[in-house]
Subunit: 202 residues, 4 copies
DNA sequence: GATGAATGAGCATTCATTCAT
DNA sequence: CATGAATGAATGCTCATTCAT
């Protein structure tokens, strides 16, 4: 008998429920931030009971951490995959810009995630730093492959640039995908050629 | 000397106390964020009673707003003053980088301020947006004076770059003023000439 | 006996707990008034935790409203039932007097209830007025059945009379049921025949 | 020199200020009740500083007591004076009704006074009881002068009747003086002749 | 006397977390 | 495993009262 679909509703609900909680938490933490999100709301949105959340996550901080982790990992995994399709450093940098902007554009609704996290939770702080480092390192590697000096600072600068250019997605409801794509091209070009390049002279 | 009724502590302590509260709140909000800061702590650090805080600020949100406002205004005022001393666009851009990095460097302890603010409070959200706009506009003006196209995006990109380059100040306790100055020069140069300029080639 | 899943404490404790809270609140609101009663006291007297009160009632005002509502409804229901046992208008009026005085006599301890309620809460004010109207209407109907003119004013006057005659129950600890019964007869007679009737002439 | 009006603004401001506080407190306690009235509001309405209230009254309860005392005394004094103008018991009873209703009618705005007082303050409770006794005694005396039996109960009943008939003044904004006068006549007649008198038969 | 800034005890309410069912 | 009723620590805010000026 293949599958065994009648043995208590599939092999196990655990992953399903865990995922439902993470999805709900992502949506709520993302749109309202850590402190304004109630565990009860997460449970309701996930379609389970409040207590059940605690079967999967030790506490609110851990849940936030798990949500962040999953999101960051996804961000990084997708980016890594995207980068494999590019060969030139310039192509890779453009791909990074594209990924950074579009990833958030697709998540318009809930992108406050990286903003409001509890400052006390050391594990969480450590994770956020790790993620930033991993992202920075990835960009840095692209630059190192192109034999750039100051690769780390360049990497930080590029990410910062992208992050600010992304900001309007949050605040401007009229922001379109075309706007996003314009900014992608802009960022990649500015980073490589600088503001003094002919492009920005009238 | 006859009279001297305002010799001892100035005519009124009101500004003094208001300032003490703002200072305390700046320090705590800045280091622990809005939600992790207790009004009682602010009062204690300010050396006054809990209730006194409410003589000067309607509630916790208003206090946070006032703190943010004072800090942002100071940032902008000092920056505007600094810019007057520069004549060339390049000089001004360098001054902006210097101001951005050193302003936060001098406030190492409490610069999480712009991070965790309550998402609810509309007045506060509006203010934060206004500040970002004002800062962006100021940089934009420098670029427009230099006849740059896409001045707004350039401005956002530059600020984003600076903001990320500033980040390590927060997390790296060993960050020195020399590090800051190095990043200042780096940012200004990268922004103008781009990563492809000879400088970053090995 | 097999099954018996609802043997121990009934199917659900919810009504029990709700009732326990209402009882505790009735006792405390009744004896100390709205403002002097602490939610913590209500919880303690009900044998539950503070927070539990809020699972059953949105806030202190709602709890007070619920207490008042239950008491008034009980008063009215019992009165209506009592009136059915009487046939003549005079019998009904006597029954009203009896009910009014004895109802409060049995609740000696906590009958300040109708006195101090928050003037703010509009819903509460509206309810109190409604109750007075319902009570007045009921008495009025008895009078209308007896073809009385000015039934509404008569009704108000009668209720007022009873209410004041009840007052000593609150303040005089030595007040006996016999005292109550004397006043009942007195009120009914006075209302019908007036002070000039031979009864009150020496 | 008569008067001496330039010696520091009259002989003394004390009575003036005391009266201003009492007036303000009467108005506020009367319209909002004890608990909803803030000392700061009283001071503001009286045109003085908060602290000054405490130069004249030990605390909030004492102020409430003083306000009640002044009002009750005025009520009793005026009533006593009014009664002197009447000779017959019937005339006196009518005068009592008139005084009770019109006194409150003239104070439409603030007649919640006797309602919400703090239950704890023993002195205040004692005073309220004393006032009720004094009022009852006065009415009782009128009845005793007419050789009535059960004068005390009659007195309580009459007062209760008047008090309820007065109630609509509070709740019905359209209540006119004519309404008041109608009720006055009604109350006096009902009390003397009873509901069974021909008057209330259709 | 008069002021009003300062105080701090006091309380309603919230919500993460637990645990008996 | 799942539930959700119950818990109670934690905190923002109010306001009567005091007292230095």
């Amino acid at each position: 008998m293949s599958g065994g679909s009648n043995e208590r509703e599939g092999k196990s609900d655990k992953p399903d429920k865990q995922r439902a909680i993470l999805d709900a938490a992502f949506s709520l933490f993302g749109s309202k931030g850590f402190y304004e999100t109630r565990i009860a709301e997460v449970a309701e949105l996930a379609g389970i009971a409040k207590g059940t959340v605690y079967l999967y996550f030790r506490n609110k901080e851990e849940l936030f951490l798990a949500v962040s982790r999953r999101d960051c990992e996804q961000f990084m995994t997708q980016l890594a995959a995207r980068l494999k399709r590019e060969e030139t450093p310039a192509g890779k940098l453009a791909a990074i810009a594209e990924h950074h902007l579009l990833y958030y554009y697709e998540r318009k609704q809930h992108t406050k995630l990286f903003f409001r996290a509890p400052t006390n939770h050391p594990e969480l702080m450590a994770f956020m730093q790790q993620f930033m480092e991993a992202y920075t390192n990835l960009v840095q590697q692209v630059l190192l492959d192109a034999d750039a000096a100051e690769a780390q600072l360049l990497s930080q600068a590029y990410i910062g640039m992208l992050d600010r250019l992304k900001m309007d997605i949050l605040f401007d409801p009229a922001f379109t995908e075309a706007d996003a794509r314009h900014r992608i091209a802009f960022a990649a070009d500015l980073f490589l050629r600088g503001a003094e390049s002919g492009k920005y002279k009238h």
